[in-house]
């Protein structure tokens, strides 16, 4: 507390003034952050006519579910949403299984000088701009007749997510004391047994946070899905939304409704992983 007082005297502001300034800044930041999302929500309940009124309608006195019905009943947005969910869940299962094992190995075992190289190689695959890997992936998928399938998306997204899972889980495992495995082994467990019976349960919060990040990454991905999918059987939600925008016409009603629907699960997830967020965003590098 003493530190705060001196510091604020230095900058010529009393502590209570400083607190007011911070509070005003925070209120402004929250309003600025939320306004665009709320504006989309507001728009999604407008009639086709109200949507194009000028000046725009801020308080909608005439809300309608027309856009939601249009998108999810008349148009195949429910199918897109289902595709997105299936792809996200399969991707998460696949990348979490492989990545957790590798993360554990890199946190616990000694590979000599190779260790640093393996870790960095895994990370560097993530640095690759997606557009760069997409051309060869497209050719590869067309060779295996996987174009326009959810399988192609699951395979590719698992590759995109793996480096993230490995680094995240590595950082969670590194925090679990080694003694725990050693005592499990003294009790007669094998290394693998100790991993499954002792370590994984302890890493459960990390596993949960990592899987939510994987779900979000797959749910949000656009570029690969744009190139690989082209019919309703594999189109994901972002593709469906972007498909209603052309150079000549923008279907604002459907886009607002489906766009807001695409945001809802993400906002819920954001509240769930809040505590793990900083670590997730920095690949486990910053503990937060």
């Amino acid at each position: 507390m003493a530190g705060t007082t001196t510091e604020s005297q230095e900058s010529g502001l009393k502590p209570q003034h400083q607190r007011w300034l911070a509070a005003i800044a925070l209120v402004f930041a929250v309003a600025y952050t939320l306004f665009p999302v709320l504006w989309l929500l507001n728009n999604s309940f407008k009639t086709r006519l109200d949507m194009f009124s000028s000046p725009p309608i801020y308080i909608n006195g005439n809300p309608t579910l027309f856009n939601y019905i249009q998108a999810f009943v008349e148009r195949p947005f429910l199918q897109y949403m289902l595709n997105s969910a299936i792809v996200a869940i399969c991707t998460t299962l696949l990348s979490l299984t492989a990545g957790t094992l590798a993360g554990y190995a890199l946190a616990r075992y000694d590979y000599g000088r190779a260790k640093k190289h393996i870790s960095m190689w895994i990370l560097s695959t993530r640095m690759m701009p997606p557009i760069v890997s997409i051309i060869p992936l497209y050719i590869m998928f067309s060779y295996f007749s996987l174009l326009d399938t959810k399988t192609a998306l699951v395979v590719a997204y698992s590759g995109f997510n793996l480096p993230f899972v490995v680094w995240m889980m590595k950082s969670y495992f590194a925090e679990i004391p080694r003694d725990l495995e050693e005592s499990a082994q003294v009790d007669g467990d094998t290394n693998l047994g100790a991993l499954f019976r002792v370590i994984l349960p302890l890493a459960a919060p990390g596993l949960a946070a990592t899987s939510i990040f994987c779900l979000i990454l797959s749910w949000n991905e656009f570029l690969l899905a744009l190139i690989v999918t082209n019919t309703d059987r594999a189109n994901t939600l972002p593709i469906g939304i972007a498909g209603r925008i052309t150079q000549y016409k923008v279907e604002w009603g459907e886009i607002s409704a489906s766009g807001f629907a695409a945001c809802v699960p993400i906002v819920l997830f954001a509240f769930v992983v809040q505590r793990h967020l900083v670590r997730g965003l920095s690949f486990g590098a910053v503990k937060g």
Binding site: G3, E7, L21, A22, L26, A29, T33, P36, V37, W39, L40, N43, F52, S54, P56, L101, A102, A105, L106, K116, I118, S124, T125, M127, M128, P129, I131, V132, S133, I135, P136, Y138, M140, V155, A156, G159, P163, T190, L192, N220, F222, L223, L226, I227, L237, P238, I241, W252, F260, C263, F269, A270, L277, V278, S282, F283, A285, V286, K287, G288
Partner: protein, 304 residues
């Protein structure tokens, strides 16, 4: 007979278990390494091959070898130069503004937000939303006729703008949307750094009568630098590959004013079907990215 086969099975199982235990460190890594080899190393190698061909998408085996022709085109292709310039322009301005705002804001509210997890969560919403949704939200607000931004402009007496559909304002529009999306990321990372800072050196500095600026320069900044570097690396790499927002907000236009490298490669490969040339541009982009990230990682030494 029966007992010996049971014993055989038991000893096979035991031998398998011993083998698994002995090679566990490699077996645990194997799935990840195999998947990454298949999905990143193989494609990269294949792309180098394609870059030396006049690639025929309908019959890859019949593609002609044309040596360095695709790479030579990079030198004379004005559209490629434009895309490169636009990408740097976007990356530089977007990331600079995000850092100025994010770091400044973190320093301002640091001591007052530590327990306000709800507010932190609200602030992280933009960066977690699907980029496509971020783009449609802003496209909706930018609309010149019925958009809310021009309405606010008119109400406060400013001249309405064309925003995403105007040549001079398109890049600005993409940058503003990106700043909205990613400033909270910089803010939260800096906040995490500030929260983990020890208090003793600051108390000592206060006793010595150090000024705010001196404390920032000699204590806060050196402590924050590793986190700022990681954040900078992640932001620059992400900004450098911008695609989704451009696709929705401007389609690269007007007149290629927002045509980023990713978008240009997409156009060359999947609109003009000039896959060999697209591969050559991709290799250029990959090399730039790798050179930059290795340089920054070496400087920061976060690898352990």
């Amino acid at each position: 007979m029966a007992t010996s086969s049971v014993r055989d099975a038991a000893s096979t199982a035991l031998r398998l278990e011993v083998w698994v235990e002995r090679n566990l460190r490699y077996l645990l890594l194997a799935p990840t390494v195999i998947i990454l080899l298949g999905l990143t190393v193989f494609p990269t190698v294949y792309m180098y091959i394609v870059a030396f061909q006049k690639f025929d998408p309908s019959n890859p085996a019949a593609s002609q070898w044309i040596g360095f022709d695709n790479f030579a085109r990079l030198l004379s292709d004005d559209k490629f130069h434009n895309a490169l310039y636009r990408t740097f322009e976007f990356t530089f301005f977007a990331v600079s503004i995000e850092f100025a705002l994010g770091l400044g804001f973190a320093l301002l509210v640091d001591k007052h937000i530590r327990n306000l997890n709800f507010i932190k969560t609200v602030l992280l919403i933009p960066m977690m939303l699907p980029p496509i949704c971020v783009a449609i939200v802003w496209k909706l607000m930018y609309a010149p006729q019925f958009g809310v931004i021009n309405d606010i402009f008119k109400r406060v007496g400013l001249h309405p703008l064309q925003w995403a559909s105007g040549y001079d304002t398109a890049m600005l529009s993409v940058i503003i949307a990106d700043v909205w999306e990613w400033t909270p990321f910089v803010f939260l990372m800096c906040l995490a750094g500030l929260a983990s800072m020890p208090t003793e050196p600051f108390e000592a500095a206060d006793l010595d009568g150090a000024s705010s600026w001196q404390k920032f320069r000699d204590l806060t900044w050196p402590f924050l630098r590793p986190i700022v570097s990681i954040t900078l690396l992640l932001r620059i790499m992400d900004a450098f590959r911008l695609f989704d927002q451009v696709y929705v907000l401007t389609l690269g236009g007007p007149a290629a004013a927002t045509e980023t490298l990713s978008y240009y490669i997409y156009k060359v490969a999947f609109r003009f079907f000039d896959i060999g040339y697209a591969a050559a541009i991709s290799i250029f982009m990959l090399i730039v990215t790798l050179m930059f990230s290795t340089w920054l990682l070496k400087r920061m030494q976060i690898a352990d």
